[in-house]
Structure formats: C-alpha cells, structure tokens
Subunit: 341 residues, 4 copies
C-alpha cells in the first residue's frame, strides 16, 4: 500500500546497505572504536566545519535525547523545552525516567521564543525560593520541530544570546536535520547551526539509515566518560560499526543532503497537489511533514488506500492527519497520492 | 589482521544482509509492529515450542538486561546474580541506574548454585529485619555464562525448583544462546530451556545479526505496557523491522543453530591446537570462548599478529587472554592461529 | 520580630512538647512500630470515620508527596496536577527524581477542573500513539491549595467521578488540611474528604507539630511493603515514636481542629484589617494564607518590622507578598500587624 | 520492660527537650536557615577544629547516606563499602534507588582493609574494559562499624593514603560517632577523624536526639546547591530549627561526649557481667553493641524479660542476639540485666 505514514517506514538508502555488505567481514573492535566510526566522524567534522568536534553515534532519537540530556545536566537541573517538544510529549517519560524535569514553555508553531525564555530565567533567578525549584540547566529545541517548522537564523541567534547570558547549553534535536537544512525556507547552513548550539544530533533513522543518530559536540566538551554513561543507559551498541559505516556513507559525496532534498522536493509537489485539490490544510510547513484536516467519513475511504498518521481530533467529525515524505519517496508515489485525493 | 577478539567483530551473516536488501523498500509500520517482526515471532515460537510465548525485539544485551529486569521487578526488589555476571560487572551499573540492586551470590565457574540460592532465600525471610533490605525479586543467569560454561539440565532444574518455591522468576541472558545450545556438552534443547525459565533472550548481536536480541516470555506474562517501558528506557527502535527481518532470517531453515554450530566446531579445533602446542590453558570451556595464560613477553609478539581480548592479569608476568570463535570464524582462520602459536 | 512569614516559623504546640517529655524514657520499638504510633492511628481512624484505614507517619511534605506518588504509581505512569501544584513548582523535582512526570493541567486559583481532567483523559486514550506517552496514573490535588483556596464538596465530587471512570486514584496533599477543614467556606467534613479520595495526608508540620505528616489510605490498599519503600526513599524515621506521640496528642480532644481554627480566626481578623486599612489585596482566601500587593518602596519599611514571604513580582515597582497565620498566631500579633500597616 | 534492643529505643536527652521547649515560640526562618542551626554549626566547627567546615543537618541515617553519596558521586560512579556496611545490607537499596552501585569489599569485623582497597583500584584501572564498569567514586566506612568495631588511627590513615592516591573521597558514617570516640580503644580525636576524611556525619538519632544527623564537610567543598539536592531527595525539613536546637544543645558543654561516654561505661559493665555469668560471647566490641550466642530454648524465657535484637541464626538451635547500651542506659538497668542472665 502507498505510505506517507512517516519518514521511517522503509529501510535504508541502497548505498548504505551496499557499504554494510562491502565492509561486512572486516574484523573491527566494538563499541564505536572501529575504523568506520573514525572515518565517519572525520567526514562529519568537515561537513560541520568543526575540526574540534567530538562525536558519538547512538541508535535512536529518544535514546539520544535521554542520554545527552542526562549526561549534560546536573542532577538538580531540568531541561527547558516547548510544550509540543518530543521529549515533553512522545518519549514515554524517558527524561523523567533518568530523573530530570522537562520545564515547559509555550510552543509557537513548535518553537521556543527567546523573550519567553529570558522571562523564565529572570523569573527563576528573581524568585527568593528558587533553590526549592528545578534549575533550568539546558535548552532543548528541535530543528525542524515536531510540527515541521524551522527556526530562522535570527530566531536561533536570539535564543543563543539568552542562553549565553545564563550559561545555558543549547541542545538541538536533529532527528530530521537534513529535511530542515534542505528546506527552501532554511537560512542556516550546517556549520552555522553547529555554531549556534552546544550539542546537536544529525538524525540518521529518519534520513536514510536503518538506525543511528550522530551526536555532535561542535566545539568539544563531551561529558567525561561519555561511553560509560551511554553504556549505563543501555545505549552502547556492540557493533558500533553498523552506525559508523552508515554515517560514513551518508556523509560521502553529500549523500545526506541530496536525499534530504528529495523529501523536500516531494513535499513541495504534495503541497501543490493539496492546493490543486482544495484540500483543507491544517498546517503547511516548509519541511517534509504536512498536515490536513479530513472529514472522518472521507478518512475511512482514504485509510484503505494510503497510510498516514493520526495527528489529533479536530472536532466532532474531522481529524487532523499527517502525511510525510522522506528520502525514499518517489515522484510516482506522489502522483498516486494525487489520484487518490 | 586475524581476529579472535570477540564474537561481534564482524557484521552480519550474509543471508541477513540479503533479506534486509530484499525487503528494504516495503513500507511498514514502525516500532516492531511490522510484518517481519510478526513473522519472526511465529518462527521463534515454533523453535521454542511455546505457542503462547510473548516476544519483543531489542537492540543490545545490556539494554535488554536493563529493560527486562526493570520491567519485571517491583521497585523495592533486586535481582540475584553470580558475582561474575555481566550485569554485576560489565554493564556500567545499568541495573542500578534503573534503581535496582544486584544481589550477588558466589560464582562457580560463572554459575549459580541452587543450594546457595536456597540458603540466601531462607536467610532473607528468616531475618526479622528483612523489610529493611532489598527483596530478591528475580534470578538472573547467563547461558552460556560469561566464562563460557553451561548449566546442565539438572542444575537448571534445581535452580528452577528453588525459584518456584519462592515465586522468583528466572531470567536467562542468552546473549550467546546458540553457542550454548550447540555445545557438545549441552543436554538441553531450546524448548527445555524455555520451560525452565520465565523470560530469556535469544542473542542476535553475537550470533549473526548486525544487532538485536529477542526477548521471549515463554508462557506469556510480558509486563503490561511493555512497549511503553521499552520506550521509557530509550530502547524502542523506530525501524523495528531491522530486528524483525534479521530474526526472521535467523530462524528460517535452522540458520541460527547452523551458524552457532560453526563457532563450536571452530572452538573445538582451536582447543585441539592448544593441546598440540602445549599452550597453558586457564579455562577450557565447552563453548566458543577459550582462555589462555600467556607470558607478557610473548604477548607482545602475539598482539601484532592476532586480536584477542585481555581478560585479567594472572601474575606479575603473565596475562589471561580470551580467544573467541563465532558464526563467522573459518577453518582457515583457525589454521592461521595455529601457525602463529 | 513579628512574623507572618509562614505556618512553620515556630516549634510545636505546647501539649505536643509536653507529651514528648512525658513519654520520653519509655522504651519502644523503632520505625513506627511503637505504641504511640498505634494509638495515634486509632485516633485518626476515628476522626476520619475510616475503621479500615491504613496509616503511615512520615516527616515532611515533599517527602510524603515523593513517597506516596512513587509507591502508588507504576513506573510508566505520571501524576496529574495543577500547574501551580507544590509538586510541580516547589519540590526541586522530587517527583521526577523518583522517575515520574508531573502531567500539568491549568490552575484555576490553584484548583483542577473536572472537565479539563476528563478532556485530558479522553485525549490521552483517544490518541493512537498514547503508548508512547506517559500514562496518567494518579491525580494530585492540595486541600487547601498552594494559593489558599478550597475545593467545594461539589468540585471534589466531580473530580472523583472522572477519576472513578478512569480508575485513577486521587491523592490529596493535606499539608494544611486543618486550615482547610476549619475554614468558614469549607463544606466538607474530614470523613467526607476521606471518602472522596484514595490516599491523603494530614499535615502536622504546619499544624502544630515539630514535624510529621500522617498518610491515610482511608479504605486500606496501602502499597505492599510500604515500610520498605519508605526506607528506600530514606524516609523511615528510626524513632517513629516522635511522630506517633505528636499525632496522638493532635488527635486527642480535637486539638488538631481547635488549633487549626485559631489560624482561621486570626486570618479573618487580618482580612478585616486589610479592608480597614485599604490594603491592595492580590488574593483574599478562605484559609490562613493572604496575599497583598505592596509598593516596593513601602516593602523596604515593612521588611524591618514584620517577616512575610515574597510571592512574586507584580510589576516594575510592586511585589506580591504572602502573610500567613498559624495555630500559634495570637490576637496580639495581629494587632501589632495592624499597627504597622 | 527492660530494653537493650537498640540505641534509639527512647526519646531525647532531657536537655534537648528543655531547649526545644525554651525556644519553641521564637519565630525563625525555615529550612535550616535559622539562628539555632547557625549556632549549632559554630559549635560543631569548634569541636572538630575545622573553621572552614560546611555543615548541613539531616533527619536520619539512611537518608543522610543516600543524600551525601548521591550528591558527591558522578552519575557513573559507585561507592565502595564493606560487605557488612549498612548501605550494603540494611537500607532497602536506598543507594541503588538513587542510581548508584555499592561496590563491595570483604568485611574484616566490619572494616575495610587499605590493601584490599588498593588492589581493587589497581585492578579497576588495570582493566582494559573499565569504562564498561562502575567507577569507584567514593569510599564509605562507618565509625564505629555495624559490628561495633573501630578503625585505629593507623588503619584510617592507611585507607586515607590509598584514597588520596586515587582522588577518592572518604565518607564516614558516624551514626554512632560518639560511642566510637568515647570508646577506651579509640585512639582518634574528633579533629583527627575530621582530618582523615572528606565528609562525615555526627549521629544524633542514636546519641541523644529525637532525630538528626549533622553532615560535616570538614574543609568545605559541600556539593553545589546542596539544599536543592536535599529537597529533591525529600529530605529537607521545613522546621530545620528542630535539628539546630538539638545539635546546639548536644555540643554545648561537651554534652555529646558526656552522654556517649555513659553508653560506653554501661557497656563495659555489661561485658563484665557476661564474663561473670559465663555467657557465650559471639563478638565482644569496644563500643556500645555487644553480641551473645544464646540457646533458642533460653531465648524464649529471655524475650519475656528483656528486649534485644535478633542478629542472625548461629546454628540449628542457637541464635546471635545483640544487646545495646545508649546515652540513656542506667546502672540500674544493667543490674536488672545481670539479675536476668
């Protein structure tokens, strides 16, 4: 069946599978200390223009958020995030499981607002009893956000300034980083983004890999004994090579950006179709996730022809659904969707 | 370089890579709800002769131990294990990270002894102040053990009887399960092993997969909302299909057992070479891990020719090293080792 | 200096000190298994009209919230609370420290609204991906609230109905329970309140004791091995008698209610003075906490004459302060405050 | 009934109750920021000859162990302790609850041995895979130990030297500190003990207080935001004055030492009686805990006349019991015990 359910509904980009096959029987040391991980790190440093970056490969998004946040925070600190943030909503409490509170700020189309962050920090330190409260110890934001939106360079710079003033590290969840960077609306390069945060990750799972996220500390400063902490979270892959080989391939000849662009191009085609067909759009976004409002009666027909994901109930007899393109979406699939709508 | 460093030093069995390639572009739902996971579960149920089994695929060994133990225990309970157990020594405190104590019993070549377990339980409940102590809530054992040894059917049955008396579930860490089952010394079948425990896992990472462990609750009773708990641990793979496809292949036409047998056959050849060469054996085991005592001066030469793993210092000028075969070890590689020794 | 800073600014009611002195040298078993705890429990059961209640004495409020919530929740569950709840704001993340998320709902003068709770539960179970979210496992509310307000019998009954429908236990934080029950606005008796929740605590620290909170499971159902869980939280007092003696005294001859009423009477006098003096009231409440808006210039003078607590900045040059009466506040002290204002 | 059950079976020294009564109605700020806590800290600094000490008052022993260990350790570190240590056996897993492993070393009459500690550290850092293990991050010892024994100055100095070499802080659990310092066998003064560790606590609960332990960082270095961390553990007492007043009294005119000496004197009398009566001694100790081996048949009679505590089964028909003196034990009570034996 045709599927626009999400951006992890198929396997890996063929070049990654090919590299896995080619390197399959070369013996390597485990736990990410292999040659492929080393090579992949060099390529990523180049792509980020961060020669002093420290990099670690993890397996999935929630795991990465949990490990990075827990490793960077002091025990008495929490992480600031938008109410719609993945860590606040859809990670089954993985942050709290490791002992930290998610300190929520309002979501503006999925984004944090620098002035609200500043006000929060002023309120916190202005409160006589703040030692009885959770200390804000890090700011989490996603690029693109969970709603497919993007921070502009100005917005990110403003957040960065507030964070600098309070010595708050910024962590960017880049589960869909490629789709953000290749969006027409994006005015940030990868090196610029790396320069505006303290740690971020380059999503592989949703951008062409079987699994894998590359955590990047752009100017170093990876928490001490990070490998031990990763292991303690149950997140250390014995065959770290699996991640290394894939990221090595993704960052060879710009593959990561090329396949990310495919998702954006297909999303643009999809948006054009929505306009053409007069679909009721809930949120049109500059990236690979698009949202429609559909009558529940119509939804029944649709669900037999195309896989989508339920977003939320809109009202009594309408539902918001999400349609997602990816590195693997073809022009043909978009045309099939057109025929269905 | 020749490597007997461990059983996760190469990629996956070619049939698994092939199946990953063949199924690569079929869209599937995420999080282990895909068709491949479903098919793999059916094959595993058959292999275990457990039609009511409940099965979940996780990524790695420490992760599996942490998730299963935490999900099965009450908050005030700990897990009983041998002092040499992987969870007691080499998981960076992953069990304690999730709040549970590892209650250690002496190791007998890596194994627990039923009478010592019984004595521990009697002592615990005989102690007036046991409500001030950690309740033993589960017994963890590994098959094969971390030292390459195996429980006999009698030993496992005795442990099982003590556990039944105290309503203690038994959890078997089967990271190397295939190598145990195919050992010449093993007098247990997979269905028999499944019948003597409450939950176990079938190791994939060390037996032919890129990654992946299959957690099996042989008679059902998987903890409620297990998926949520897995997610909370950061252990839920978006592309669960990656694990499903691989286990489906491993349990097609007995591949898992066939490749496990290869490791055992190569280990037997290796043991013969040790005898022939008069090597000083620290521990000869019935499975795929063998241990030698080597002079430190000799070790320097050796380390340039073959990768092994450091086990422990034996004395001032000797070291215990571990040499490991796997599903991928060839007769040629064993002969090369012979030439070196 | 005159102090209306809070309701824990002096020691204990003299009758409690006297009882501590009288019983001081009687040897007793530790950990709450003493005769005084037993006697106090009987008196509390009577006061609550709950003959099957199970009761445990703890030391302080945050500790009690942490222990009760953690002991009652499954690991994958969180606790629903108003945004202004003590557990959401002023407990330094004690709930998250034990692994649970506080699921916030809007605060209506410190209170939860039954229809919003219902909507939250419907949204949760209506969401296809709710297994990726934190399960609401308990509802926390405070009586009186952190803002000094009270639930009416109707409001509490409505919340109770929603909770019954979703099998959600209700936990009432009664750190200031006496002040709530003795308020003129209160239309609930202690037995009625006990009947409308699943667990609550009777605050001692703020109502006449040196320390101590009595956790009451009105119809039984205290979590198994509760003593062990309390110990695990570091919350088990060796000399449990200290709590038992005090609660025994508090529930002898209605002392708890009598001294609670004193705080209410003094608060009513204070409110009359505010009206007489034309003070700018931020929030007038039916219990023992009152809130004023004061010019910052005026505050400087005030702070030399009377201790109050900072609540929040109102605007550029005004501050909200809190003035609190307690079981110990005298008519003379209120008159002194009058002279100062 | 006559009770030698433990050293927390009665209330507080009368002078402490008197001070609580005298100071009862003086308004004070909460959370340990009151004048009494301040005064008590000054007295303790003097007694320890540590003018730069940082001090915090907590309520009970397990709580103190949990808070101090968790606050001082990094997340990936565990605490080294003897197998018989209170934290290893009788705290219901409170250390693991906060995420840290207790790394056990053999107990020599309750004590750690410096050479075994050194060997453990050498083994740890000599192990190639130590980043997969729990890092030893602190050494815990109790003075006196759980078995009533004492470290000599030499023994403590040797441990200290090993710890210095590995930058391992030493934490001394002084739940019964006074009884150790006043023992005839003790060759350490309080300032000397303070000089040989990094943090310790002065037990109040077992030495004359209703509750309370004084945590001392003798040369400063209290973990940042310690109050917040205490609160996060649910361990912050609102009426911190209760602890301050008591420790102020205990350290006025040497009361702490004087009443500690009483326990030792009574224990010496008890030991003389055991010799006189030919009691079978399991362990004779230099402090206030003594252990006898008693026939089970005889125990039945005994248990009706005197409260003791069960220690462990000795063999089929004998039991080890513990008899404990305290600050409150009188000569008359010891003579009554003599009559019974």
């Amino acid at each position: 069946m045709l599927s626009f359910e999400n951006d992890y509904n198929v396997g890996a980009h063929p070049k990654l599978l090919q590299r896995l096959a080619e390197t399959n029987l070369e013996p390597q040391t485990g736990y990410g200390l292999d040659d492929f991980c080393a090579a992949a790190k060099e390529r990523i440093k180049l792509a980020c223009a961060c020669p002093n970056a420290e990099i670690f490969f993890l397996t999935g998004g929630t795991q990465t958020n949990q490990v990075v946040i827990d490793a960077c925070l002091q025990r008495y600190e929490g992480v600031v995030a938008a109410q719609t943030a993945h860590i606040a909503q859809h990670e089954a409490g993985a942050i709290e499981f490791s002992g930290h509170k998610v300190l929520e700020l309002p979501s503006h189309d999925g984004k944090l607002c620098a002035s609200e962050l500043k006000a929060m920090m002023e309120r916190f330190y202005g409160d006589d009893s703040h030692e009885h409260m959770v200390f804000p110890g890090m700011v989490y934001l996603s690029f693109p956000t969970e709603l497919g939106t993007l921070y502009s360079k100005t917005e990110l710079t403003e957040l960065n300034e507030v964070c600098r003033a309070y010595a708050l590290p910024i962590f960017i969840d880049g589960a869909r980083l490629g789709y953000g960077l290749m969006s027409k609306q994006c005015d940030l390069t990868l090196p610029e983004l790396a320069g505006l945060c303290d740690v971020f990750y380059i999503g592989g799972t949703k951008v062409g890999a079987l699994c894998g996220e590359a955590v990047v500390f752009p100017r170093g400063g990876m928490p001490k004994y990070f490998l031990t902490r990763v292991k303690q979270h149950g997140a250390l892959l014995a065959k770290g090579r699996v991640l290394g080989v894939q990221f090595d391939a993704l960052f060879t000849d710009g593959l990561y950006f090329e396949i990310s662009k495919n998702a954006i191009d297909r999303a643009e085609e999809m948006k054009a179709i929505f306009r053409e067909k007069g679909c009721r759009v809930w949120k049109e976004t500059p990236t690979n996730q698009q949202f429609l409002i559909v009558k529940d009666s119509e939804l029944e027909r649709l669900s037999k022809l195309v896989a989508y994901s339920f977003w939320e109930k809109y009202d009594e007899d309408h539902t918001v659904i999400r349609l997602v393109t990816s590195w693997a979406t073809t022009k043909e699939q978009v045309q099939q969707l057109r025929a269905i709508l």
